[in-house]
């Protein structure tokens, strides 16, 4: 059945198209033809320069790193969402379910309150604290959630909820104390790609892409978990080990995405479901296709956010995504249901 492969090619073509449009669109519009020319020139093709030097600066220094960050973040969130859904056997799971969001948010808020401005490899304190906060929150949840009297998955989910609530209280307190910096914390909570640079991309991309590829290499374990943990064990999956590794990888991908873009909701929840509606539950197909779809969705959402005067991209993903998703839920095309 070559369907997933055909869909992947189609998705990659769509991604290339939205990347070009995403780079072209903005407060200073660059013609799509010029955009393609600039991009090809940057890739080393001998293209005649027919555009203004400012257009090249805008494309290469501002738009391209931003659009590529959207590609990496969108793909990473979708892969992490698919992984958490499969691992926790819960269609409601998203990349933030075990506390990455609340940990990263608290980290970012604390960074905003620290008066010292340190730039580390082009990344602000906020990015570093958000990344560390996201990882630390899940590490705590994983340690506390295991070994209790509850079933492993129930324990993890409830622990994630409890730790998340605690961190949310910390975040609320930090915001209350933040005074004039409140807006900066808010913009992290709503997500946005306007802070992207080549340097932030260079740090986030290897983590998000490397983590996603490592998850794809363990698709077998995710497939085994479809029928439950006991069934997965009977099918040759070392459940405890694979659960730890996959949780760690998905958290790493999520934290890398969140560190550069703040909390962008919806993509990690919806992209895997949209893909499953068409190709079924096989993680070998779901993971790569969800990555492509997540990238396309976030590039488009960021483009819309930019054209509407830099509104938070998380607002756009929800406003566009939710009605679209609802419509799909009601029609259930492709023979698969949610």
């Amino acid at each position: 059945m070559p369907r997933p492969a055909a869909l992947a090619l189609l998705g990659l073509a769509a991604l290339a198209a939205v990347v070009v449009f995403g780079v072209a669109a903005g407060s200073v519009a660059v013609a799509p033809g010029d955009t393609i020319g600039i991009l090809l020139r940057a890739l080393g093709f001998p293209v005649e320069r027919t555009w203004a030097a400012t257009a090249e600066t805008i494309v290469m220094e501002l738009r391209l790193p931003r659009v590529l960050t959207a590609v990496v973040v969108g793909a990473g969130l979708a892969v992490a969402g698919a992984t958490f859904q499969g691992l926790l056997r819960n269609p409601l799971a998203d990349p933030y379910v075990l506390g990455t969001a609340s940990g990263a948010a608290l980290g970012a808020a604390i960074a905003v309150l620290i008066p010292v401005r340190i730039a580390l490899l082009g990344l602000g304190l906020l990015n570093v604290f958000a990344f560390a906060g996201g990882l630390a929150a899940v590490a705590v949840v994983y340690r506390l959630g295991r070994g209790g009297p509850l079933a492993p998955l129930t324990g993890l989910l409830l622990t994630g909820y409890a730790v998340g609530s605690l961190l949310a209280a910390g975040l609320a307190m930090t915001m209350y104390l933040s005074g004039a910096n409140l807006r900066q914390i808010f913009s992290f909570l709503l997500g946005g790609l306007e802070g992207s640079s080549w340097m932030s991309l260079a740090i986030a991309a290897p983590l998000a892409i490397g983590g996603s590829v490592a998850i794809l290499a363990r698709a077998r374990a995710l497939n085994g978990l479809l029928l439950g943990e006991e069934a997965a064990a009977h099918l040759g999956v070392d459940v405890r080990r694979e659960r730890g590794i996959l949780l760690g990888l998905a958290t790493l991908v999520t934290a890398a995405a969140v560190a550069v873009s703040g909390l962008i909701g919806f993509i990690g929840l919806v992209a895997p479901h949209l893909v499953r509606l068409v190709v079924g539950p096989n993680a070998r197909h779901v993971l790569p296709l969800a990555a492509i779809l997540g990238a396309v969705l976030l590039v488009v959402a960021d483009m819309v956010a930019r054209l509407l005067g830099e509104i938070p991209v998380g607002v756009v993903t929800a406003v566009i995504g939710a009605p679209f998703f609802l419509a799909l839920l009601r029609s259930a095309r492709g023979g698969y249901e949610l």
Partner: protein, 293 residues
């Protein structure tokens, strides 16, 4: 596949499906090295509670064995020890001649296929996709299923007789149909030993008999060794030539149905008075509760 309900919902045997004359095995255990599955003085305890108290059992290749006994007797735990999911406090389990403790999970999965319990699927999945999960232990972790894997899935679906269910959403099937899909998954796994934990629970009479006949056929024609936990003594007695009766974590009887299920033993183990009707070829257990044991 026809079955008529007898008195009090007890299945009467279907003509032509009577098992071969039962052979008494197990009293003289084969060498552990040639056994399909074996237990050597296995003791399992969770904290204070001892679940298995020194169980020794040998199952030869090609056998069809039912584990019977009251709730909490340790039947399911015995299966879990064999699959390496429970580590005994003392004693050893063997699969295909090797101690289970020395085998990793994929190696166990290639020697023992378990029909999974009915789990709620978190996502919609087609019947053939569920059956294909049985190939996971054979699959290349990076390249995924190959042509041989797809052929094995098709063959398993046909072998179990569920071609008509292809393309259906596995979540929309009846319990009986779903059980056949799960058996097909285990058949696709192509392990020499098939274990089942109460494969007929919650099934109607027709599907109970269908599953039992399928197991007998897999055993007879493909040579698959079968070890099943059963609660229905009538089905166990009718479809299995060898019964192992567990009570309180110990084997209290092992042998042919006629030898194991005597009226006195059933009364002492289950606390229920039964009428054993028919001979070896036509056996039914009609139970009359006798009150507290």
């Amino acid at each position: 596949m026809t079955a008529t309900a007898g008195v009090a919902g007890v299945a009467q045997p279907v003509p032509g499906t009577a098992p071969a004359a039962p052979t008494v095995l197990g009293t003289a255990p084969a060498a552990l090295g040639t056994a399909q599955a074996a237990f050597e003085d296995v003791v399992v305890a969770y904290r204070e509670r001892t679940v298995l108290r020194g169980v020794s059992l040998t199952i030869a290749p090609g056998e069809r064995v039912a584990l019977v006994g009251p709730n909490g007797a340790g039947k399911s735990t015995l299966l879990r020890v064999l699959a390496g999911l429970v580590v005994p406090r003392s004693g050893r389990a063997f699969l295909g001649g090797d101690p289970v403790a020395t085998l990793d999970r994929p190696a166990i999965a290639r020697r023992l296929a378990a029909v999974p319990g009915q789990a709620a699927l978190p996502f919609s999945a087609r019947v053939e996709e569920v059956v294909a999960l049985g190939r996971l232990p054979h699959e290349d972790p990076f390249r995924g299923p190959r042509a041989a894997d797809r052929a094995a899935v098709d063959a398993a679906i046909t072998r179990v007789g569920i071609d008509r269910l292809r393309g259906r959403d596995a979540r929309e099937l009846s319990l009986g149909e779903r059980q056949l899909v799960l058996v097909a998954l285990a058949v696709a796994q192509a392990a020499p030993l098939l274990v089942l934990d109460e494969p007929t629970a919650h099934l109607d009479l027709r599907h109970q008999v269908a599953v039992m006949e399928l197991l007998a056929d897999l055993n007879a024609r493909d040579g698959t060794t079968i070890l099943a936990v059963l609660h229905d003594l009538t089905l166990a007695r009718h479809f299995f030539p060898r019964l192992v009766l567990l009570d309180g974590g110990q084997i209290v009887a092992d042998g042919s149905p006629a030898a194991v299920l005597t009226r006195e033993r059933v009364r002492s183990v289950f606390g229920v008075d039964v009428a054993l009707t028919g001979g070896a070829a036509a056996a039914a257990v009609a139970a009359t509760p006798t009150g507290a044991a």
